[in-house]
């Protein structure tokens, strides 16, 4: 999630007073106010609107929304001057094939604007740039470089320059191995035999995208008036959007956009701020929104969102990334119309509610057990290896049919196979709580047999408890549920129970679970100082009876 910070003073001077009403307008524009202090306004920007990731981008859209500067904004693009050219060599094809570039002139930068430039670059990197994988951006003071620029790929050891934040020249490989930023993004170039670089006509390296810029050409300061911008990556459309967001933001800051000649696919001039066109139907809009807008109102609402409308067709700004379908324009209309202005209505659709049968059954079990003094617990579906196996007396070799999480950030990296482990864990954690402790839990467990199996189980534990105690509960429960189960001696007994004190529970001829007394060695593992008897059954068979 990306947030932007706007100096409060600037907002109030250029847009309006930040009173409660204005804060309401901001939220209803779809940019929730995260915080407001005397100095800053912080807004959350949703991922579909990277064009709002800077103050100037936000201001453009928000002023239109307020009805102040509506419609599609037109920016003048100046023709390329001499040497305004980027030559792409075919060597980049297998590394990072595309780049789109532009030049901005006439900038007057101050600290706030420089910060905004650094910010938007960083935010575009982390959002639509997918952490520089899809797009990496470079911005360079034009006076430090000599046009035209070449974009090519070289063997890492043939690349040598002084990277940002470094005191000495490094080779391409060294940067990935030694430089902090290099190490962070090294994975983006892993397995590549050549690394991409931008060099100027003096063969000076500007940068090695998507990793790092050169210290010698890398920094924009308050003296900088003219800049060269490049975006590089794998996805042409995203690059185009990204560059358009950047150049129009700079234009909003007062700069003039100059295009460059680039031989990408064909010789073209970049950037192109050509609006895209999409059809919209008034009928569809009114039907989906439940409104009765006229065509004029439709146009006005579209203009408030920065679009132009004429005869069933919408012109969409080239920096908007989120309009994939007519429905996205319809949402824009709804936002412009104002969510607060819709009159909520309940349709008359008559339906009958219905609970999932298993849920009903599980609730009945809970009612029966709470009726005889049992407390229900609620544990996680994920469990640690130690709790699931070691403490229950299952050794490493016996672990099977278990589902493991590949990437858990906690020690819980297994899906629970039974509920008994958590019953024991609960006893273990509550050894200073008053006894007797009588607990139960129903819930899902996971096993990997031929396929992944998810099933619902019930486990009951009593401390202090013996075989008679737990068998009494089983009998009380089955009688209340009006089912008949048999308890037989169990042959293959679970590792946590005492041989000779374990019963297998049979229902309709099927083994559905077991009950028994927990072995002292297991109680010792869990540091439980009370005898425990426990039961666990699969509810699948029982569900079918209902």
């Amino acid at each position: 999630m990306a947030n932007i910070k706007i100096p409060r003073k600037q907002f109030e001077k250029e847009i309006g007073k930040l009173d409660e009403k204005m804060q309401g307008r901001i939220a209803l524009f779809g940019t929730p106010v995260e915080s407001l202090t005397d100095s800053d306004l912080e807004l959350e920007i949703f991922p579909n609107r990277p064009d709002l990731l800077s103050y100037h981008g936000f201001k453009r859209a928000f002023l239109a929304f307020l009805g102040k500067k509506t419609g599609l904004k037109d920016y003048k693009i100046h023709k390329p001057e001499k040497n305004y050219e980027v030559k792409i060599e075919s060597s980049v094809k297998d590394v990072r094939p595309y780049t789109l570039c532009a030049i901005i002139k006439g900038l007057r930068l101050d600290d706030d604007k420089i910060k905004e430039i650094i910010d938007i670059q960083e935010k575009l990197h982390s959002t639509i740039g997918r952490k520089r994988k899809k797009v990496a951006i470079g911005i360079y003071p034009l006076d430090k470089i000599k046009l035209p620029i070449t974009y090519k790929a070289l063997e890492p050891d043939k690349i040598k320059f002084l990277p940002l934040e470094s005191t000495r020249e490094m080779s391409g490989l060294e940067i990935l191995q030694r430089h902090p930023t290099g190490k962070e993004y090294a994975h983006l170039l892993s397995g590549k035999t050549k690394f991409p670089i931008f060099i100027d006509s003096d063969k000076k390296v500007l940068s090695m995208p998507p990793i790092i810029n050169s210290e010698n050409t890398g920094r924009v300061t308050d003296k900088t008036k003219e800049i060269f911008i490049e975006c590089s990556g794998h996805d042409f459309k995203t690059l185009e959007k990204c560059l358009n967001i950047l150049v129009t933001t700079f234009a909003e800051m007062g700069g003039s956009i100059y295009s460059m000649k680039i031989n990408l696919k064909e010789l073209r001039e970049s950037p192109s701020l050509k609006a895209t066109k999409k059809k919209i139907s008034l009928k569809d809009t009114n039907k989906i929104l439940g409104l009765d807008l006229s065509e004029k109102e439709l146009r006005q609402n579209l203009e408030k969102m920065g679009h132009n409308y004429s005869k069933g067709e919408v012109e969409i700004a080239s920096w908007r990334t989120d309009i994939l379908h007519e429905i996205d324009l319809i949402e824009d209309i709804a936002i412009a119309y104002g969510y607060e202005n819709f009159n909520p209505e309940i349709p008359k659709i008559s339906t009958i509610g219905e609970e999932d049968k298993k849920e009903t059954f599980k609730r009945k079990i809970s009612e029966i057990l709470t009726g005889i003094g049992f407390l229900e617990t609620s544990n996680f579906h994920l469990i640690s290896k130690e709790d699931q196996f070691k403490n229950m007396g299952v050794n490493e070799k016996q672990i099977k049919e278990t589902l493991e999480i590949l990437n858990s950030k906690t020690e819980n990296d297994f899906l629970r196979k039974n509920l008994s482990s958590y019953i024991m864990k609960t006893f273990s954690k509550n050894s200073d709580s008053e006894y007797p402790q009588k607990i139960f839990e129903t819930g899902r467990v996971f096993e990997e047999k031929e396929e992944i199996e998810e099933s619902e189980k019930l486990a009951i534990g009593i401390a202090p408890g013996n075989f008679t105690d737990i068998k009494q509960v089983l009998e009380y429960l089955t009688k209340a549920l009006d089912i008949k189960v048999e308890v037989k001696e169990m042959e293959e007994i679970p590792s946590h129970l005492i041989d000779g004190r374990v019963g297998e529970i049979i229902f309709n001829g099927n083994k559905i679970g077991h009950l028994g007394e927990v072995h002292p060695k297991i109680l010792k593992n869990w540091k439980i100082k009370m005898p425990v008897s426990i039961l666990e059954i699969d509810l699948g068979e029982l569900f079918q009876k209902y």
Binding site: L324, L382, N407, S408, F446
Partner: protein
Amino acid sequence: MDKIIQSLSPIEKKIIPYLEEKEISRICEKSNLDKTTVLRALEYLQKKEILKLNVKQKKIIDLGVNGILYKRKELPERRLLNVLDSKRILSLKDAQKESKLSEDEFKVSIGVLKRKALIELKNGKIILSATKEEMSKKSLEELFIENLPIEQSELTSEQNFALKELERRKNILETKEIKKISLEVTSLGKKIMNSEIEKKDMIESLDQEILKKDTNWKGKIFRRYDVTGNVPRLNGGKRHFVNQALDYVRKIWLEMGFKEMEGKMIQSSFWNFDALFTAQDHPVREMQDTFFLNKTLEVQDKKLLKTIKETHEKGVQGSEGWNYTWEEEESKKSVLRTHTTCLSAHKLYELSKLPQEKRVGKFFALGKNFRNETVDWSHGFEFYQTEGIVIDPELNFRQLLGYLKQFYKQMGFEKIRFTPAYFPYTEPSVEVNVWHPEKKVWLELGGAGIFRPEITIPLLGVRTPVLAWGQGFDRIIMDYYKIKDLRELYRNDLNQLRNIKHWMK
């Protein structure tokens, strides 16, 4: 007074005759009861204004661990003096060796004896400078130790000096606080002591035996109980409070006419993401955010796979899609579901098998979802979510807001507002905010929207509007129970479960 006499318990009656004894221990002896019982009875008697208990705190100084040892073996400085007595002059090293003192003890002893001018140190040697008389005299510290234990308030100035000296040293002394309880019988108490308290016809606890014959209880007096007194806590059976809350939400859905959807927690990426138009390079699909399993799950319906691929790559019916190459392999990766919306996706697909006019209805889901998080007060790796969908060709955005208003009203949220939001699978999208009257801010509650055509066309087979909204649940439970730390919800602390109030909604 009669009422008070009638309220006396047998134990109280037993000790009343001995109330004028000076020591509690004497009362215990005479009544033949243990101290705890007597003390409890005395407190009851105080409540009945028969006596007054005076509790005095006393500080008693006694020997500590080292003190006990030194009392037996003498203080280290004395032992050093004894060695010096015969040798007069000794090197530091020899003195320590012969006195058999530890490093610490030796240092302290030198310090003490120097301060008292009993020895001198010169060129690493100790020279005895004490007179015979001084040697034979016991030090204040020694005298003090002999007289222990002493009450602190009764110390003489010399004893106070010795106390300060010894307190600087490790574990020689120990101060204990003890309570001294004395009692004073009130005038009421005295009267009671002089009255006939052993009434033969008083009934203690009513039991089966008494009820056997009418004459056992007719005309008799029942001992009066102190009904204001505390009684032991009762522990009963109870449903887990989170499950109580879930049942409440379920009831709301059922009352609104929704049918429950149920499904697996382990889903393929296809159902959890692809079917919901979440691009394959979307950050949520990274290992960072979602739990992945080492298993693949395949979708059998080839036609569905093809439509989803097209939808992502080029879009469907007027959509542009995400413009990338969609990989079937990526969609097979199994995950722990990150939202219940995957159940809605399954439901739409299930309905697509029905004739078009039957692809309508109202459904809800309620269940656990997962995200790959470390655990702290506001984050967990498992969380509850509930979600509803309404499918009907005539639905619109105003009706979505209508449902939301009704749903949240039932949930107990009266003052809500709707703001624009973004979810990959709905358009238009809505965020529901609730007004927090104490914090005076709008808080984020849940998300909602109308499923995008990129969802409904491939899954349901038609572009019927599907209203959808979802609500994370843990925060609402925390708010109701005034729980500040998310971890409290699934701690399974039996004390907490026994004492927590019911979900009274």
